[in-house]
């Protein structure tokens, strides 16, 4: 028979695993639902245990009941923390993706076989994000854009490596079309190599079009 908190533990294990993954594994809809259900059941148990006492429960007079209540309460709180930890780990991951400028919603859809993510929560051919998470990503993207907007000259999402050289060698991994630089237009065709200003191509490196050499 499964014990209280087993499910919560599974969520935490999922969260722990997520921390070390490059991508986001599918949202555990069923597990989240089951843990939430356990919380509600426990809460009902607490209520029905307390009912006969009419609000005048004395823990020292009825120690077995007091102990049950305590265990129930602790299980509820533990489950809540497990759920919070699981969701926070995932949102942290999502925020990281937003900061990196990747199109999270698109990415999640691709991973799961290109299906439309918003439509389903179960089954293999759906997004690895829950619908709520998709909303969250969208809203966080807006929030970040708003904050970034106050620092337009800095490019807040730019590289956090200290700049060493103004110009760098890059190799083109994917056709990226033509870009405008102050030294004229460059046509970025696959497998070609260029010596360009880092600031001009930072975005393209982050998005995987270009690779920095040396």
């Amino acid at each position: 028979m499964p014990m209280y908190g087993d499910l919560g533990n599974k969520l935490v294990q999922h969260a722990k695993r997520t921390q070390n993954l490059a991508h986001l594994p599918p949202y555990q809809t069923e597990l989240v639902r089951a843990v939430t259900r356990e919380v509600r059941d426990l809460d009902k148990d607490v209520a029905s245990l307390l009912e006969p006492f009419q609000g005048s429960f004395d823990p020292s007079a009825d120690q077995p009941t007091a102990c049950t209540l305590l265990v129930n309460h602790l299980s509820i709180r533990r489950n809540k923390r497990c759920l919070l930890a699981y969701h926070r780990t995932r949102t942290d991951k999502l925020e990281e993706l937003v900061w990196n400028g990747s199109d999270v919603l698109d990415l999640a859809g691709q991973q799961a076989g290109g299906a439309n993510g918003a439509s389903a929560a179960d089954g293999g051919a759906s997004s690895s994000l829950s619908p709520q998470e998709e909303d969250y990503v969208r809203q966080y993207g807006d929030l970040l854009a708003a904050y970034k907007g106050q620092w337009t000259d800095i490019d807040l999402t730019g590289s956090l490596e200290p700049p060493r050289d103004l110009f760098i060698d890059v190799r083109v991994l994917k056709d990226a079309g033509e870009i405008q630089t102050e030294y004229g237009a460059i046509n970025l065709t696959k497998n070609s190599q260029f010596y360009v200003r880092q600031g001009d191509v930072e975005r393209l490196i982050a998005q995987g079009y270009l690779q920095k050499l040396g």
Partner: protein, 221 residues
């Protein structure tokens, strides 16, 4: 930055160095401190970032002006300006992101009291408030709304343990002393005290180092 900069900063006679240079020093110091301190430090209130922003804007304009000039002599100046600009930008970016990382990590803590809120800039305050609201909403719509009402809070402190995490003020930092001053540190087994000399580098708990840093007797390295 070297020791001379620090002396200049402390010594009022040297205050005839240009404002831009002092701003850069201040930015660099704020950046180093923010990256080493375990908790969020106050946002510089003296208009430092307004000035820096204005400077960056001027330099960008200058770059645009000079662009297209292919004369090797002036072109070299352009490259110097651009390199400087990139570095300046990096400092500001890294500083802002270090702050944002701390704010995200302990958002509820920094929003909990007015004294802590005052450490954030207006933009950061808006960001933190909104981010926290987004998160809470996300929790609510994902699972919290089906919880019993009395369990929906995110700031319970049941059984003496608060749900709000706070930064670890006891973690260790390195500081450099800017003047001779006694240093006291609390240890696990025993406390220690020493007569610090100027430019000594000491490692101790942030909670012990904080008064020294705030008094200007030491800086984080």
């Amino acid at each position: 930055m070297d020791i001379d900069d620090i002396l200049r900063e402390v010594d009022p006679i040297f205050h005839d160095i240009p404002q831009e240079q002092r701003d850069l020093q201040e930015l660099t110091r704020a950046w180093v401190a923010e990256r080493s301190a375990p908790e969020l430090l106050p946002w510089p209130a003296n208009g430092l970032f307004e000035r820096i922003n204005a400077n960056i804007k001027t330099q960008i304009e200058k770059v645009e002006e000079l662009t297209g000039d292919m004369d090797p002599k002036t072109n070299f100046a352009l490259i110097v300006i651009q390199t400087e600009l990139e570095r300046y930008r990096y400092l500001v970016r890294s500083y802002l992101r270090a702050r944002l990382a701390k704010i995200d990590r302990h958002a509820l803590h920094y929003l909990s009291t007015d004294a802590l809120r005052a450490r954030l800039s207006d933009a950061e305050l808006a960001y933190a408030t909104r981010h926290q609201a987004l998160l809470h909403n996300h929790y609510l719509s994902s699972f919290l709304s089906s919880f019993p009402a009395n369990l929906q809070n995110l700031n319970d402190s049941a059984a003496g343990i608060s749900m709000i995490e706070t930064p670890d003020l006891e973690s260790a930092v390195f500081i450099r002393l800017l003047k001779d001053t006694p240093v006291e540190g609390r240890g696990v087994d025993a406390d220690g005290a020493m007569d610090g000399r100027e430019s000594d580098i000491v490692i101790l708990r942030w909670s012990d180092a904080k008064p020294l840093v705030e008094a200007g007797s030491a800086e984080l390295v």
